[in-house]
Symmetry: C2
Subunit: 200 residues, 2 copies
DNA sequence: GTCTATACAGCGATAGAC
DNA sequence: GTCTATCGCTGTATAGAC
C-alpha cells in the first residue's frame, strides 16, 4: 500500500492540479496575466498536455469559476449549518475573504471583474451569478439580523448586501497593492461595525 | 482665423491624444488588455509613431498614472476651494467617481490595482502614491467633519478613509460587471450615509 | 494522457527612409 | 513626427507519435 493516496483519500487528478495552479495565477496576476506555459512550467508538464484537459483557455476559465463558486457555496452552507447568529455569520463571511488575503491572493471573481470586458461571454455570465449568489446570501443574513435586532443599518437588505460585497472586494483590491493584510482586516471590521445595532 | 484651436485654446498634442485613447482603453480593458496596435488604430497612426512619443509601454503607463493623478489632485483642490462643509465635500468626492462610471469606465488606479503584480515597479510606486493622496485628503475631510459635528463614524479618520476609498473602488468594480451605474450610486450613498451624524 | 513539433497571430520594440 | 518594414518573442492552439 502506497504512502500517498492510500485508502479513501480522493485521487488528485491532473485536471485538479491544473486548476489549482491556474487559480493561484489568476488570483495574483489575473486571467489575462498568465499563460498555459506558466501553468505547464509549474507542473513540469507541456502546454499540449494542458490542452488535452482544457482545450481552450476559455474552457479553463469556465472550470475555474465553476469550482470557485462551488467551494464558496459549500463554505456558506457550512456557516449556515454551524453559526446561528446573523452578526457571527457575517464575521465568518469576512473570514472567508481574509483567508484569501492571507494567501496573498485577490478574490478570483473580484480579479475577473476588473477584466470583465475582455472575458468570454460564458465567463461573464458565471461571474455575475457568483456575485448574485453572494448578494442573496448576504441579503438573507442581513434581513434575519435586522429582524432579530442584532443588526441595524440604512437601506434595504439587498442594497446593503451589494454595498458590503463591493466594500470587501475593494478593500482586498487596494490592500493587496500594499501587501497589507491588516489594512484589509481593519477596513472589513469597519464595514461590519456599521451594521451593529448596539451603539459605540 | 480657423474655427478650431483658435485664439488661446491650448493645442492638443499628439501625446495628449495618445494618452486619451490609452487611458480609455486602460480603464475599460486594463493595462495588459490593450496594445499599441489598439491605440494606433483608434488614432489612425502606426505603432512606430506611438513609440516615438512613448518609447516603451512602461513609459506610457507612467505618463498615464501621472496625468490621472494630477487631474485628480486638481479636482480635489477645486472641491477644497469651493465647498466648505465636510459632508458636502465627500459627496463631491463620490461624484468624481460617479463621473467615471458614467463613462462606462473603471477608476484607472482601481483597475491597475488588480494588475498590480504584473506592473513595472515604477507604476506600482505611482499607484500607491495615488491611493496615499486620496487617503490623506479623505482623512482630513473626515477629521474636520467629525470635529465640526457634521460627521460621526467608528474608527480613526485614517482607517475610515481607507475603508471609504476601498468601498468606492469595489463598488465601481462590481457595478461595472452589471453595467449598472445606479448600483454604484446606491452603494456609494450607503457608504456616505454611514458617516452622517444625524440619525435616520 | 503526455510528448515533440509546429502553425499562426499578436505583442513590444527598433532601423532607417521621408 | 510619421512612415514601411522587420525582428524576436510569446500567446493560444493543433497534429500526430508514443
Amino acid at each position: 500500500m502506497a504512502i500517498t493516496q492510500s485508502g479513501s483519500a480522493p485521487p488528485v487528478t491532473a485536471a485538479q492540479r491544473i486548476l489549482d495552479v491556474a487559480e493561484q495565477l489568476a488570483q495574483t496576476r489575473g486571467f489575462n496575466g498568465f499563460s498555459y506555459a506558466d501553468v505547464a512550467a509549474e507542473l513540469s508538464l507541456t502546454k499540449a498536455s494542458l490542452h488535452y484537459h482544457f482545450p481552450s483557455k476559455a474552457d479553463l476559465g469556465r472550470a475555474l469559476i465553476e469550482r470557485y463558486h462551488q467551494v464558496f457555496l459549500g463554505a456558506l452552507e457550512e456557516i449556515d449549518r454551524r453559526i446561528p447568529a446573523a452578526d457571527a455569520r457575517l464575521q465568518r463571511y469576512v473570514d472567508l475573504y481574509d483567508s484569501v488575503m492571507r494567501k496573498n491572493r485577490m478574490c478570483l471573481c473580484g480579479m475577473l471583474a476588473a477584466e470583465y470586458t475582455t472575458l468570454p461571454a460564458a465567463m461573464q455570465d458565471q461571474l455575475r451569478r457568483f456575485f448574485d449568489a453572494n448578494e442573496s446570501w448576504l441579503a438573507t443574513v442581513l434581513d434575519d439580523g435586522r429582524a432579530a435586532g442584532v443588526l441595524a443599518f440604512r437601506g434595504t437588505a439587498r442594497e446593503r448586501a451589494q454595498m458590503v460585497l463591493g466594500s470587501l472586494e475593494g478593500a482586498m483590491l487596494v490592500a493587496r497593492a500594499y501587501d497589507d493584510g491588516p489594512r484589509f482586516r481593519a477596513a472589513a471590521t469597519l464595514v461590519l461595525s456599521d451594521l451593529r445595532a448596539d451603539p459605540a
